[in-house]
Amino acid sequence: VFHNLQELRHSASLVTKVFVQRDYSEGTVCRFQTKFPSELDNRIERTLLEETVKTLNSYYVEAEKIGGQSYLEGCLACATAYIVFLCMETRYEKMLKKISGYVQEQNEKIYAPRGLLLTDPVERGMRVVSFSECSFTFPHVSSSCPHLRECVQ
C-alpha cells in the first residue's frame, strides 16, 4: 500500500507554479505586486520574497525612467534614423541583462535551496513573475530539491 501511495504522490507531483501578477496601480510602468502569495507560505520567508520583487520593481523603474539619459539616447538615435541601435544596446536592454543576472543570483542563493525556481519576467512577456516548485513528497525529503533541473519545464 505504501508503494502505491508513494507512486500516487509521485505521479501527482507535477510542477505547480505560482504567479505574481503585474501591479497596474501606477499606470503602465512595469511593476509587480508585492503581495505575498499564500501558496508559498511554508516555502519561503515573506520578507525575502518581498525583497526580491521590490528590487525587480526598482530595476524596471530605472529602465523606464524618462530623464536626461533617455532624451539623449532618443535624440541621438533619431538623428541617425535609429541605425545606431544596430551597434549599440539600448538602456532598457542593458537593464534587462542586469535583471537576468540578478534573477540568477537570487535563484542560486535563496530559491534553489528552498526547492523553488524564480523565472525572469521577460520570458513571460513581462506579465508575471513565476515561481515553480518541485513537490517530490518522499517522507524524508530535505529542503533542497535534488531534481531541480528536471523539475523546470
Binding site: 507554479k17 497596474y24 499606470g27 503602465t28 538615435a77 533619431c78 534614423a81 535609429y82 541601435f85 539600448t90
Partner: protein, 382 residues
C-alpha cells in the same frame, strides 16, 4: 523520434509573416505596403531624375542633397515601422492560463447552471480612475491597460494604436515613435518636393532655356501626386501630434475612452503637453518580449496525445495553444467550470480596425481643415 532545432518564430501563433529568419515581422497582407513604397520611391525618383539637375544647376546643389537625406530617413522610418515587433504580448502558456482560470472561478463563486458567468473584467485603479482590464479569450490573458487585440494579426499588442495597412503592420508601443517620425518626415519630404516642383515649374514658365514637353508633363504629374499626398499625410501627422500631446492612442480616441462623457479622464496623461510628448517620443525603446530567434526543440514524430497536428512548415506557424479552447490540466482533475470558458471563447472583445470609421473630428492642433479632409485623414488612419 527525430528532434530538430527550430527558431521560435516558426511556432508562434498569430497571423504574422516573418522574414530573414525571424528578424522581420509583418502582417500577412503586404499589398498596400508595397504600394506605399512604390509611391514614395517612384515620386522621389522622378524628382531626382527630372527636376534636380535643373535645380542643382540653377539654384543650389544642396537642394537634391537635402532631399536625398530626407528621402533616406523616410524610407528608414517606414522600414523600421513595418519590420519591427509592435509590442506583441506573447500568449499565456498553459500553466499561466490555468492559474488565471482558477482565479476567475474562485472570484465568480458558484454560477447557477444555465446562467452565463459574469464577464471577465478586472478593475484597476490608475491615477484615481477605474480602468477595466478585459480578458482576451484568444491569448488567455487579462490585457494590460492600453493593450488591445488586433484581429488582423491575431495578437494582443501593448499600447495598441491601430493596424496600419500602409505600413503593413500594427502600430503599438514599440514602433509608434517610428510611425510618427515616418509620417512627419514624409510630410516634410512631400512639402519639400512640392515646393521645389512649383519653383521649378514657375522658373520654366519664364525660361531662359526652353523645356521639352515630356519633362513638363512629368513635373505636372509630380505636383499632382504631391498635392494629394500632402493633405492626407500632413493631416495624419497633425492628428497624431494631437494624440501624442494628450497621450492617447488612436484606439482610445476612436472608442471615446477619455472623451469625458462619463467624466472619465485619461489617467495616463501628465496633463502637460511637453511631458506627454517626451514620454511618447523620447521614452525608452522597449525591447521585444516576443522571442523570435530563440531556439527550441521540436518533435517531428506524430504522437497520439497531440490534440491537433502541428504544422512544421515555416509559412504556417500554428501552435497547439491556439487549437485548445480551454486549458486542459494534465492531472487528475479538469475543472468542470472550464466549460463556460469554452462557450464564451468564441467572442473576441477587440473591434477590428476595418469596421465603420467614426464621424470625422477636427483635431485642434492641426492646420485648419475641412471635414472632407479630416475624413480622408481618418480613412488613411485605418
Amino acid at each position: 523520434m527525430i528532434t530538430r532545432k527550430v527558431r521560435k518564430w516558426e511556432k508562434l501563433p498569430g497571423k504574422n509573416t516573418f522574414c530573414c529568419d525571424g528578424r522581420v515581422m509583418m502582417a500577412r497582407q503586404k499589398g498596400v505596403f508595397y504600394l506605399t513604397l512604390f509611391l514614395i520611391v517612384g515620386t522621389c525618383s522622378l524628382f531626382f531624375a527630372f527636376e534636380c539637375p535643373y535645380l542643382a544647376v540653377h539654384l543650389s546643389p544642396a537642394i537634391p542633397v537635402f532631399a536625398a537625406l530626407l528621402f533616406l530617413f523616410v524610407i528608414a522610418m517606414l522600414l523600421r515601422t513595418s519590420f519591427s515587433d509592435p509590442g506583441v504580448l506573447p500568449r499565456a502558456l498553459p500553466e499561466e492560463a490555468t492559474f488565471i482560470e482558477m482565479e476567475i472561478e474562485a472570484a465568480n463563486g458558484n454560477v447557477p447552471t444555465g446562467q452565463r458567468p459574469p464577464p471577465r473584467i478586472r478593475n484597476v485603479q490608475i491615477n484615481n480612475q477605474i480602468v477595466k482590464l478585459k480578458y482576451c479569450y484568444t491569448c488567455k490573458i487579462f490585457r494590460p491597460p492600453r493593450a488591445s487585440h488586433c484581429s488582423i494579426c491575431d495578437n494582443c499588442v501593448d499600447r495598441f494604436d491601430h493596424h496600419c495597412p500602409w505600413v503593413g503592420n500594427c502600430v503599438g508601443k514599440r514602433n509608434y515613435r517610428f510611425f510618427y517620425m515616418f509620417t512627419l518626415s514624409l510630410s516634410l519630404l512631400t512639402i519639400y518636393i512640392f515646393t521645389f516642383d512649383i519653383i521649378h515649374v514657375v522658373m520654366r514658365k519664364y525660361p531662359v532655356s526652353h523645356l521639352s514637353n515630356q519633362k513638363e508633363q512629368t513635373c505636372r504629374r509630380i505636383v499632382l501626386v504631391c498635392f494629394f499626398t500632402l493633405w492626407s499625410v500632413v493631416g495624419l501627422t497633425g492628428f497624431h501630434t494631437y494624440l501624442i500631446s494628450l497621450n492617447q492612442t488612436t484606439n482610445e480616441d476612436i472608442k471615446g475612452s477619455w472623451s469625458g462623457k462619463n467624466r472619465v479622464q485619461n489617467p495616463y496623461s501628465h496633463k502637460n503637453i511637453i511631458k506627454n510628448c517626451c514620454e511618447v517620443l523620447c521614452g525608452p525603446v522597449y525591447p521585444s518580449v516576443l522571442d523570435r530567434r530563440g531556439l527550441m526543440q521540436e518533435d517531428s514524430s506524430v504522437s497520439a496525445t497531440s490534440a491537433a497536428p502541428s504544422s512544421f512548415s515555416s509559412s504556417n506557424p500554428v501552435s497547439q495553444t491556439t487549437k485548445t479552447t480551454a486549458p486542459l490540466i494534465p492531472n487528475e482533475h479538469t475543472p468542470d467550470d472550464a466549460k463556460p470558458s469554452i462557450a464564451a471563447s468564441a467572442e473576441t472583445s477587440a473591434p477590428p480596425k476595418d469596421e465603420v470609421p467614426p464621424a470625422p473630428k477636427v483635431p485642434p492642433l492641426a492646420s485648419p481643415e475641412t471635414d472632407a479632409e479630416a475624413s480622408i485623414v481618418k480613412d488613411k488612419a485605418h
